[in-house]
């Protein structure tokens, strides 16, 4: 079998896996949030509503695909693909275990960010092409938010790359033998989680799609399968970001007793559940507060983290100093936010 045929098969399997995961995630989110809100969530389709997601998928598939008269047809139809494709391309480099990976890339970490940045254009395009002012507003918000948060996101992960000395995800996992990077890079992990929530447009950063303000933002005019593709991409992205966090900060498949893939899934789902939990608890920020948060807090914090990590590497400090220093930075920063916020 030629190499490229094998690659295609691997990609197909990965995409299949992600699609199934998305269905599970959608069901899980509805159940988790339902229980947090003291209700049951879906109960009627299958055992505890387990067939709800497939049912929804079928419904979306057979639904009429409406293209508004005011829309720019060409861009309107293309936009979902532009969101969907990059996100599924990023799956390629995520290592589930050492062997369960489509392609281990030397620049794996960088690859994920670079490719997924394209999907912003898809969202902006969707909003622009809809010919709807709410969609336009939403896409302007999405553009501003996602471009801004990409910067702290990339910087947060740079610290890890420095400590591990590599952008290869497999090497990064191997470097976490004995000590997970959540200990060495708590600031990095914090920034990563916050910034990726913003990248995902999820609560409390669901400003571009805010129901109560811009009624669904860029997706407001979409229906049927095109809307389904956006929905799918959002959850796929959630999974990928969580998996990435699990790999980079929680040592991926490493763990005692259980098989590697199970550890990987446990860690990934732990992060996913935290994201769901946020959604059930927090209100939404305002766009200017969001920008302030990115530029005036997260970015400087990421710089400080880089500085400390650099000092640690150059002067060859013991590991505990890096840990203590990082925790101290985090504590000072949170205190600062509190004090400044109150003033």
């Amino acid at each position: 079998m030629p190499e490229w045929v094998e690659s295609i098969i691997r990609v197909a399997i990965a995409i299949g896996f992600v699609l199934t995961t998305v269905l599970v995630l959608i069901w899980l989110e509805r159940k988790v949030i339902g229980h947090i809100q003291q209700r049951l969530g879906p109960m009627r389709t299958g055992f505890h509503g387990f067939l709800q997601s497939p049912a929804d998928a079928v419904k979306l598939l057979v639904k009429e695909d409406i293209i508004p008269a005011a829309a720019d047809r060409w861009a309107f139809q293309l936009a979902p693909a532009l969101v969907f494709v990059p996100i599924f391309l990023t799956v390629v480099s995520i290592p589930f275990t050492r062997t369960l990976v489509v392609r281990n890339l030397d620049l794996g970490l960088f690859y994920v960010f670079a490719i997924s940045s394209i999907s912003i254009v898809g969202i902006v395009m969707a909003g622009w092409a809809s010919g709807n002012k709410y969609a336009l507003l939403g896409s302007v918000r999405a553009g501003a938010q996602m471009v801004s948060y990409e910067i702290p996101l990339v910087f947060s992960i740079l610290g890890v790359a420095m400590v591990a000395g590599s952008l290869n995800l497999e090497t990064i996992v191997d470097a976490q033998r004995g000590l997970w990077y959540i200990v060495l890079q708590p600031v990095g992990m914090f920034i990563f989680l916050v910034a990726s929530l913003a990248e995902l447009n999820r609560t409390p950063f669901d400003i571009p799609v805010a129901e109560s303000e811009v009624v669904g933002g860029p997706y407001v005019e979409y229906s049927g399968i095109r809307w389904g593709v956006f929905f799918l991409s959002e959850y796929a992205n959630t999974f990928i970001i969580s998996a990435l966090a699990a790999v980079v900060f929680l040592a991926g498949w490493r763990g005692p007793l259980l098989p590697g893939w199970l550890w990987f899934l446990i860690k990934t789902y732990a992060i996913i559940l935290i994201i769901f939990w946020f959604r059930a608890t927090l209100p939404r920020l305002r766009i200017d507060q969001l920008m302030t948060f990115a530029w005036k807090l997260l970015l400087p914090l990421a710089f400080v983290n880089l500085l400390i990590t650099g000092l640690y590497l150059v002067y060859d400090w013991p590991r505990w100093i890096l840990f203590v220093a990082s925790v101290a930075v985090l504590a000072v920063a949170s205190r600062l936010v509190y004090v400044v916020g109150r003033a």
């Binding site: 960010f113 490719i115 254009v121 902006v124 395009m125 336009l136 302007v140 553009g143």
Partner: protein, 165 residues
């Protein structure tokens, strides 16, 4: 015919077409979208030449950031008239400039001593190498560029804030 060659022709043609569409498109937002495809096509070409890092940078900076900012500016400035290019008085000037650039590129193509085809495998450029050469051989240009960017940044802030009070 091997796979990389097919990919080269496909993506080369795609980015050329997209590039042409950028300049011929009447709809300025469409032009921006075509620009994205042109840039992505070029990124894939980089990838084929084993310049992974450059390709990813192309994706991140040009695809993810520049095009978004371009669209952003379009949306905020020109909502009422609609994003249609009506006419352009700078056409002759653009033709002259384009031809001049073409001449320059062609001369570069002919002057450069290209390596004999297929005599040696393409050298993969590792990231540390790029980093090192940036901070040794190219330190001065690198610093100049960052200074220029800083000036641009400050300028942008000044322009944006001038309307405030």
């Amino acid at each position: 015919m091997n796979v990389p060659l097919v990919l080269f022709w496909v993506f080369g043609a795609a980015s050329l077409t997209a590039g042409l569409l950028v300049v011929t498109s009447k709809n300025i937002a469409h032009a921006a979208f075509y620009l994205l495809f042109a840039l992505v096509g070029v990124a894939v070409l980089f990838l084929l030449m084993a310049a992974d890092f450059l390709a990813l940078v192309q994706f991140l900076i040009y695809g993810g950031a520049i095009v978004v900012l371009l669209l952003f500016a379009l949306m905020l400035t020109r909502i009422r008239e609609g994003p249609v290019i009506v006419g352009n008085s700078q056409k002759p000037l653009a033709i002259v400039a384009g031809l001049a650039l073409l001449a320059l590129l062609l001369s570069v193509v002919f002057v450069t001593p290209w390596p004999k085809p297929a005599t040696e495998a393409i050298q993969r450029i590792e990231v540390p190498v790029i980093g090192e050469s940036l901070f040794t051989d190219w330190l001065f240009p690198f610093e100049i560029v960052s200074l220029v960017l800083l000036v641009a940044l400050i300028g942008a802030i000044v322009i944006a804030r001038s309307g405030d009070d």
